[in-house]
Symmetry: D3
Subunit: 283 residues, 6 copies
């Protein structure tokens, strides 16, 4: 019986969070280990379905870099990176779109559906959801930066009761254009702003932002974050993550979280428990 009482107490501890985020849009950048381990994938899907069930409106934005590289390798298509950004030739673009929109996206959709959700996968080409321009055409080819988002379609999908799953592919300016490959972190950030999301969460393969002693920093302001970038505490792959957070916050999102996707159910832990498990950045 003691055990059962514990069970119920847990549910009740989540009550204030459920009340707080009811009907709010929560954008989740899905990636890293949480996307590759079969066990973590299923747990992630359960979390998303539960968030929707208790009244939130989760929106999933995913990447898929490793899967793209795998298929490029199978096809012997060379792939290069400059400053950590993929150079997207026309050939690479074709493969990137197929993998992101046709394999990774549908895989996540199935994951959610098999947990009792009703997910719909789209890319930025559907209903012309995202338009992009080249970041630097001569240097990066079809790697794009988002120019415009028409949030209408995602609002309709949400209002119809579905969970949108978004592949970071954007349409170009003409029909003959193959479209653009977008950095998934930045796509998530822009989408959160366009949807007036309350919260954005980035699932990563680190515990969050760490201080010089490698201890987790639980909360940060934008200002503090920028200082940590300047003094080098935040460096490497964490820089684009916090930049995406700051962009979302400046666009009106209330809180941006960097959490450890390797921890099972990190999503629920961060949203529905008092302490959370990662780093939360706010204005």
């Amino acid at each position: 019986m003691e055990n059962k009482i514990q069970t119920v107490q847990t549910l009740l501890d989540a009550l204030p969070y459920i009340q707080k985020f009811r009907d709010d849009i929560i954008v989740i950048k899905y990636g890293g280990a949480a996307q590759t381990s079969q066990e973590l994938k299923e747990k992630f899907a359960k979390d998303v379905v539960l968030l929707q069930l208790v009244g939130m409106k989760p929106v999933i934005v995913h990447g898929g870099g490793k899967s793209i590289t795998n298929l490029l390798n199978e096809l012997n298509i060379p792939t290069t990176f400059i400053d950590g950004q993929r150079v997207t030739s026309k050939e690479v673009m074709r493969i990137a779109e197929m993998v992101l929109s046709g394999e990774v996206n549908k895989d996540i959709v199935s994951l959610l559906n098999f947990q009792g959700g009703k997910a719909i996968g789209i890319s930025g080409k559907d209903a012309n959801f995202m338009q992009a321009v080249a970041k630097d055409e001569t240097k990066f080819g079809y790697t794009g930066i988002i120019k415009q988002i028409n949030p209408d379609i995602v609002h309709k999908i949400l209002n119809d009761g579905f969970i949108p799953v978004i592949a970071p592919i954007a349409s170009g300016a003409s029909l003959s254009h193959p479209g653009y490959n977008i950095n998934a972190d930045l796509a998530a950030s822009k989408i959160a702003v366009a949807l007036k999301a309350r919260k954005i969460l980035f699932l990563t393969d680190t515990p969050g932002v760490l201080d010089k002693e490698k201890n987790l920093i639980q909360t940060l302001t934008i200002e503090q974050t920028q200082k940590l970038k300047e003094d080098g505490t935040i460096s490497g792959g964490m820089v684009p993550k916090v930049d995406a957070c700051i962009e979302a916050l400046k666009g009106g999102v209330k809180k941006a979280h960097i959490i450890d996707g390797r921890v099972p159910h990190s999503l629920l832990l961060e949203i529905l428990t008092s302490s959370g498990i990662g780093t939360c950045i706010s204005l």
Copy 2:
């Protein structure tokens, strides 16, 4: 961290129940210790608010016999019982209505509101919700049995997002009639049928239906229940409870539960965990 993982696991265990009962009406007969202990009262209110938050439609039906007796005593009005049923003189009826509609009902409404719910208290007189006739006028006076229920008002309250709290008072046939005092268990049962509720729960001061060895019986069919009545295993105050359960089930309610209101959060335990804590009767 282990502790947190446990937390999340608990939430996820509740997921299938939340999915199953989404948008379903759940009638809860509130009474006994759960209505007198301040601590149990608050826990009960938290449970109801959480049930609503995760998508169910709880409807509270309450009694209040002890409070009626207390005020009658303060007023030196004699009160008698025949076969466990109160004899309701005109004087008693006036007091019963005041206590039920004006004290107990509003107390529960406040309880729910202070936990973040939005409750509205009504009696069977509001919008002519319940009409009754005398059970046996010469013997019991204004103790009534329900003749008709107009569920429309409760559906509207539910659809407006409120939690209805119902005092078991019904209107009589004429304006000069003081109305009827209704047994709360039977009122709950009739209301559950009229609302096409999926589930009805009775909060009692016992663990549930017990076998001859005083061990809890977790599940029963109507047929089994009737046998236990015949062989005397079910006796005393449990008889009208199971009768109310059977009436609800025969009217189309899927499951009727008799649970221990003395156990904190027994409501959530019964609805959102796999084993439950009381007795569940079904067809």
Copy 3:
């Protein structure tokens, strides 16, 4: 036939008033003789139902001081008044709430329902409709003044086609707080403002505001009213009535009426005939 023609003429004379107040909220402070005489009660109820039927939205706010005093006397609980305001001890508060929410309120609800209306009785505790603070805790105890009104619930009740009947009880700041007893005239005034009512009517036991010669004054501006207060023409129990009128008018209500509840159907006479029967105060 002449008689019948007369009949129809009367109906037609009411036509412009029916057109004028269509869909308007009309707050009616119900009290005095109209609330105690059985005959006047039924006539009042008929009036309210007819007003709703021809398209207005009546809202009833009632007092019940005499009934409270009666029950306090039966219980030998002493009750005292300072400056005409009841001192509300915790014991008195419990009784006041029971009488107002559980007896008087349901009595009015039944009255309206038996005339073909569909009334719902609430107090300020339902859906947290009214919150109050103490007027002067050491002096008056739980006698409160309204701090906030959430008109949402009453709008929903009106839009669902019901007649709201409101007991002047407000919730306090904590769960353990017994709530507040509110002066019904002031409650009516505040409710009219919060609901953006077009008209407020006070049923009293006088013909209206009288001049020095004790003749009825049919119309007054706020300014004129204040002068009559200053020169003592308006005095005694009429002062709080006109103050409640002025507060409503300053809050945006178009017209405030003080009418004679002892006159059968005074409500209809005031709203649907050209001359009216009481005093009408406007900006």
Copy 4:
């Protein structure tokens, strides 16, 4: 004051009728003296507007034989009648339509609008509301009998809050066809059936159906009515009226009334007072 009390009593006497016919469609065949006397016209309009204001849905169907004859005379176009039915040549049809749809119809629309109603005049040609075929082409020309009614447009007009005023002109089978002139009594009857009206009233220049002693018969069944026709008590111009009543009743209309349009406000007298003033026929 006595006078005012009388006033209110009258309003209250109408209350049960207002409750009874709320939201019901009431078809009124307008004609005779009520259509020619300026005073009676305005009173008729007031009645209709009041009926709508208190929640009914009046639909006006009008004739206009005299106005047609007048214009035909001014134009020296010969007009003949066989068995009381106008022979409608092509030339007569053109004039009949102009007078009915362009003069009489708009005159009634203006009448209603100037009393505060919002009326819309249509003929059976609008939105193809009524299609007819010839009654007997060689004998009566373009005098038609209704073949089909599409009630959709009138329901839309009613739901938009307007009072429909219908001229008894129907469309023919081809574009070159001038349309048909329909007997207004029969049109009213068919329209009442098509709209599932609750009541139909015929304003005539007689007190109603009279017995052999020329006394008004207040109520009749279809069977009794048919006997009175057979024994000659009902004769002459009253025969087509009662036939139209019977057709409406057989089509599902609950009550059909023949009332004296020469009596001011006969419409209100019949619908909103207990005794009525004319003859009411029912199944």
Copy 5:
């Protein structure tokens, strides 16, 4: 096959226009030859029905001067014109209304219905759609200029899926007033402004605005138009047309077209083809 390909190409050429004007209100002043030739009438009706079918909201405003003159002549009622404007005596007004509302209006309604549309004919008297005052009572009698338009009824007709056909008759200030006869060009212009129409088209018996060499001018600005008036290029009957155009444009209508109603399907040619066939005036 070549022929069929041509067919499809034509449909596709219309595609951008259909997209552009989707859901837009298009006011069409119908008159001249297009209203008298049976062949042109049917083609006009087909055009209007097709415009509605592909998503536009056509509103027809018609005149009918010739038909009025004809009936006046048949009745030997003298009719005079001052500056091209009819002097409308009370007798003339009665005939004008009958002809416009009862003959011409219903004729157009039938035309549209027989092509598969659902048209409803109204005049400015219906639902008090247009109120007017006298232009110059001593000089022109009941010839009016529009004072106010209540566009509500036409929006409701459009939203119900019907095509409104409007006779240029307006109501006067009192019930005894016969109403006003309005110049149809000006009525169309005012109606277009009141409805926030995107486009207004005038069907005339000329190719459009002609230059000094009698060649068609395809596009004009308001400024250019006013210069052509000043230098006499635009003169005679074209002056009131361009004035009506300018009034509509100044009131917010985007484009005003003067087109040749003698050309079959001139309406479709102007709206759905690139070059158009008449003169288009814009800001």
Copy 6:
């Protein structure tokens, strides 16, 4: 001018078809040359957008066999066919899904969007739209036949104003299952039945069903079609096409068309012109 008149006549000839199919769902199986020639692709997209614009609800179902084979070849994955059906190994399934959902589907979506439509691409996995079982697992691997369709999502997409573009991939029975590859003709047929489509069209690389003399047969009944299959007139690749037609017709679709996708705008020619260009099969 003659040319322009011709233009308009063409539009008007399409009018009856536009009226007839308004609000009807039209399923289009897209494939063959129409999917490979850049010129034909754009023309197809224009056709679909125009059909939607004039009020129909087009639904596109596409195949993509050649693109799958191409990528398999690039990857040196062997691909075999038995009886014209691809044997779908797990490796082939992964590639088929990527190509269909991620390349071909998004290519069609972009095509439609760049013509002014708003298309959304989904596969049978989205919102669990299509579930399949293996056709013959040992023989064909993951080649599936449709077991169930949940049309809800497509109805929502249509009602939101989008054009659904569907890849013929279905979900399997478990999360680890890679899903099924479905024959696009059969998918189109089943989808048309599930959506209660009025019409289904198959774009092929032949003129339609040909008789023994290789002349096009314009109309066929199911019975005639089956006879032609039996006597060998219909053979080879045409057999599965007519079988898909027959299945759709038996499921309630009114007409099934086999048309020549190599003819520009064959879609519009078939739907909006009188003669059509291919073979139309009906009950």
